[in-house]
Each structure stands twice: as C-alpha cells, then as structure tokens.
C-alpha cells in the first residue's frame, strides 16, 4: 500500500474541473458493494442516503489511518523517540487543517474532543459552570439535536439556569422575530443553536444571529455538525464565539470531534476533565494547567482518528467545498422535485436555504415500514426521530424518513429512492 503523500503537506489546490461524481465515487471503496445478497440471488447496489447520520470514508482516510498504524504510530506529545515525534507531527498537523477549514485565526483555537456531543458537554460544564448563574438564560431552538439539549438540562439541574427555546416556522425556518425578541426581553447569556438542522436541512442565518446576540451581550455557540459537511464555513466571518462539529459526518472517522473557540473565550474556561497531557506541573498540593486548547485535552488523544480527520479535510478541500455544495444543491433540487411526484408524500422542512437533507412522511404508511422496504431495494435512509424529539412533536409526527445526500451521491440514486418509495406505496395499496 502506498502512503498518501499529502499527509503533511498543505491541502491540494482546488481544481476548476467540472464535478465528476463518478470519479469521486471511485474514491469510496464501500460504494461498490452489494447489499442483501442471498444464495442464488444477486444483491442490490448500495444507495447510501444516510449521510447525515454518518458519511462513508474515502480511500485516502482509510489509508492515512492504516498508514499511521503500519509505519508511524506511537503516543503523542510525550516521547523523545523518532516515532513519537512523527506521530505527534501527523496528529498535530490536523489541528492546522481544521483551523484552515474553518478559517480560524490560529491552531490554538481548535480543541479536539471525542465528538460533537462531548464538545457540547465541555462547553456546558466548563464555560457554563463558570459564567452562568441561577436564572441566566441559555437560548436553544426547536431544531436542536439532543446533543445540544441534554447537556444544558444537566447544567440546569446543577446550577438553576433557564432554558428557553426559539420556535420553528411551518416551513422549517427559525423564527427570527422570536429569536430577536428573546434576546431583547430575556437575560440571554448564551445562544446555542444549530447552523444547519439534521432533520429539516434548514441553514440558519448564523451571521445575523451572532450579530444580534452580540448586540445583546450574549455569547454564541453554533452546532456545525451538518454545516461543515455541505458548505464552506468561516467562523470569523460568522463571528462565532464557539463552534462545534464531528468528524465522522465529514467523511472522517468516528471518535474525534472539534470545538472551535475564540481565544479569549477558551482562555477564560477552566479544564473540563483532568489527567495527563493537559497539565504543566503536578504536585499533590497544586497542579497548573496548560494553555488552551491543550488544557481541554486530558489523556491520550484520538491519535489515529486525528490523522484520519486530517486526511478527510484534505480530501474535501481538494474537491472544494464550493463544488461539493453546488453538486449537492443540484441533487437536492432534483430529489425534491422527484419526491413531490409521489401523492401523499409530505416534505418536512422546505426553508429557502437548505442543506441536502429531505425528511418526509407518507400518508398511511409509517416511516419505519418505508425504511424497511426501501432498504430491500438497497436504499439506506434513516427513519425515526433523528435525535430531535421536540422537533418531531413540533411538526406533529412521531417519526420521519430522512434521505440525506453527500458528495458522492447521484441523480440516479435519487431516482432509486423515488422508485423504491413508489413501490412501497404500491405494496401497501
């Protein structure tokens, strides 16, 4: 196996060639497999439309991780020997890549966590416990993932903060009037809202929201888990104080996530967990901690995953997030139009600005049944509540089917989904 040459170099320059999705698909080994193979019956080609839950990995990510294990692996930050240095360089290079991806001012703004969920818990327990007191308001929205709800409820039970929730309009847009009103009338100290909804696809106007929040003295935290995967993100242009995402949805591995923080914000935050790697000196009387971001990274970090994330960022930046976005927007428009052919199909989330995520229900057929049927046709979608139960309640549905598109999906795959849904409808009569 050849080791990817780009591991330590800067991300390759974006090309201006037209987006060649068939070429892109060849980079993802899993996309050639068949599913539901049985004796005497060929399988179905995989149509993977569950990217919002987790994306598949390109060869470059797989090779970077196994390449590290085969040639360069050792613990990081603590050895003088050759491999430890090598491993540290490879792992820490990812911090630069993330900073570049988000247009963060510096690598020091980037904290590695286990996933997005841990980043939220980190902010709640470190920043929240330090800066929020009884009665202070944390402003969420109805379209939050449970990962951005439950940590605040835990904090509420510990400190008596208040949680307020911005409503969502019928088309799936955030109710910006209500947002502004909340900032004006409530003691909002923190806005913690998603950049893009994992169920509705809605992309929120985060720049405007950050500006309004700052005018009212609130700190802003955005959940970028479904945003960084679909579009270029610039945390400085947005003026986010804190920004979170998770690597496995960005074609990288599980086990690593990112918390971006402005320097002043991170510097003011106490450690979240204690242990090795995050300290300067330790005696039994007193321990001093390292500066941010290292202060928040206790213990041996996800080294292999970190290198995988670096390769994933190289991969998407080489394709170009603009190009990915344009491709996915074409797919979104096409799939939306085709799904609308189906009588009784209701799309939940029709905001003007959307990522390539389509949630839908069909009169008379439960999403769970639809999921089982389309799966038999090889089409992988998510069914259920999508870790967003309050949003399901808001739209009066117990569950939805969700097709979420990624950089390797095609119009033919959207057709496969539509045909499978039509056949399901025919079965149920």
């Amino acid at each position: 196996m050849t080791r990817p040459a780009t591991l330590l170099s800067d991300a390759p320059v974006t090309s201006n060639a037209p987006y060649d999705v068939e070429r892109v698909r060849q980079d993802f080994p899993i996309l050639t497999r068949l599913v539901h193979e049985r004796k005497g019956r060929p399988g179905k080609p995989l149509v993977y439309l569950d990217n919002a839950a987790s994306a598949q990995k390109p060869r470059a990510v797989i090779d970077a991780m196994s390449g590290l294990l085969e040639r360069d692996y050792a613990n990081v930050h603590r050895g003088v020997h050759f491999l430890s240095q090598r491993s540290t360089d490879l792992y820490e290079a990812t911090r630069d890549k993330v900073a570049k991806l988000l247009n963060a001012p510096s690598r020091e703004n980037i904290v590695f966590t286990r996933n997005a969920t841990e980043a939220f818990n980190l902010v709640a327990q470190s920043w929240g416990r330090t800066f929020l007191k009884t009665g202070d308001v944390v402003l969420l929205s109805y379209m939050e993932h449970h990962a951005n709800i439950v940590p605040w409820q835990l904090l509420r039970d510990q400190t008596g903060i208040r949680i307020e929730v911005v409503p969502v309009l019928d088309d799936g847009s955030l109710d910006l009037d209500a947002y502004e009103k909340a900032l004006k009338t409530l003691a909002v100290k923190l806005v913690a809202i998603t950049h893009s909804s994992n169920v509705l696809g809605t992309v929120n106007p985060v720049r405007q929201m950050a500006r309004l929040a700052h005018e009212h003295g609130a700190t802003v935290l955005f959940d970028g888990s479904q945003a960084v995967v679909h579009r270029p993100v610039d945390v400085q242009a947005i003026d986010a104080d804190l920004y979170v995402f998770t690597a496995h949805k960005l074609y990288g591995p599980t086990g690593i996530g990112v918390l971006y923080g402005k320097k002043a914000v991170l510097d003011a935050m106490p450690p979240y967990q204690g242990g090795g790697d995050m300290i300067s000196t330790v005696t039994f009387e007193k321990t001093t901690f390292r500066e941010a971001p290292y202060r928040f990274e206790a213990g041996t970090p996800p080294i292999i995953e970190g290198v995988g994330l670096g390769a994933a960022i190289d991969y998407v930046t080489a394709l170009g997030l603009d190009a990915i976005q344009a491709h996915e927007q074409r797919l979104l428009a096409y799939a939306t139009e085709r799904l609308r052919e189906i009588e009784g199909l209701r799309i939940i989330g029709t905001a003007p600005e959307k990522a390539a995520i389509i949630s839908f229900t069909i009169d008379g057929i439960h999403p769970h049944d639809i999921g089982t049927f389309v799966d038999r046709a090889g089409v992988a979608v998510r069914v259920g509540r999508h870790c967003a139960e309050p949003l399901m309640d808001r739209f009066g549905v117990g569950a939805t089917c969700r097709a979420s598109f990624g950089l390797y999906n095609t119009e033919a795959e959207a057709d496969a989904l539509v045909e499978a849904v039509k056949a399901t409808k025919a079965f149920f009569g």
Binding site: H366, H368, T372, R376, G384, R385
Partner: protein, 160 residues
C-alpha cells in the same frame, strides 16, 4: 422487489395495521401503561380492565407506530379478553420466544392458548429482522407493565 418482505408483511398484518381492532381509550379501565420505542418513535398506551373475577375483561390501546407494532397490538387485544393475568403472561413469554429464539430454545411458559399462538405466527417473521423485533413486542411489553402496575414500558430496557 419485495418478495422476501411478504413473510413479514402478511395480509393479516397489513389488515390489522390499517384497521386496528380495539383502538381508542376506553372508559372505566383500571390498569394502564405507556410503551415507548425510542429508536423508531413508536408510542402506544395499553388500557386494561380487570374484572372482579381477576380476569381481563377488556383490553384496548391507542398510539401510533409502524404496521408491525399496530398489528401486533391489535392482535393482542383480540386474544387477551377473558384471560387470567397469568395466562396473558404465559402468552407474552411464548410469543417473545417466538420472535427472538430458535424453536429449540423456547422455554416452557406453562399452559398456552394454542389457537392464539397459531394466530401470532404471522408475526414470527420479525425474527429475520432484528431491528423490528421491538416493534412486534412493544404492545406486549406494555400490557405486561400495565398488569404489574408499572406506568412505563420501554423496549430499551427490555433486555433483548
């Protein structure tokens, strides 16, 4: 395209799924529990009316879920009327085995209503679909919780 789904979605299931029997909250029930399948969002409530003789005088349910869970609940309500709680539990145990284990591994749950077990066969197809076992057994877990006076049954805690 869906040939091998016909075992799971037999006519009886489609029929009960579309037109569930004993659906809706009754007056005068004296035991109830809510069942929740957090994975797929199915939610049902089972209402039991225990008569003065200790037998199940009436069973009804409401809530929403997939065809499998609705059909299972509907079939259940049809077969529990007039049974003693012990008989209902035995049926639950045997049905649970049917959905989750090979026949050699089924355990003895005491005397069974064989006719009811025959009817429940239509749901045995879920054994090939591990993700759907909870759908088929949710109503039964909920009924069992109601019998024992637990307000909530969750398939997450059901120990599959």
């Amino acid at each position: 395209m869906f040939d091998d789904l016909r075992d799971l979605y037999q006519e009886v299931i489609l029929d009960h799924g579309k037109n569930p029997r004993n659906f809706g909250k009754p007056d005068g029930f004296n035991r109830t529990a809510r069942g929740d399948n957090p994975m797929c969002g199915d939610k049902i409530t089972v209402y039991l009316t225990l008569g003065s003789d200790g037998r199940i005088a009436d069973v009804r349910f409401d809530g929403r879920g997939c065809a499998i869970s609705q059909a299972s609940a509907s079939l259940m309500t049809e077969m529990l009327k007039g049974k003693e709680p012990k008989e209902a539990e035995a049926l639950f145990g045997a049905f649970h085995d049917m959905c989750t284990k090979d026949e050699e591994e089924w355990t003895d749950h005491g005397p069974l209503d064989e006719e009811a077990m025959d009817k429940l066969q239509v749901l045995s197809g879920v054994r090939e679909f591990p993700m759907r076992v909870k759908c088929a057994t949710l109503a039964w877990h909920t009924m069992n919780a109601a019998l024992h006076g637990d307000p909530v049954a969750s398939t997450e805690n059901a120990g599959f």
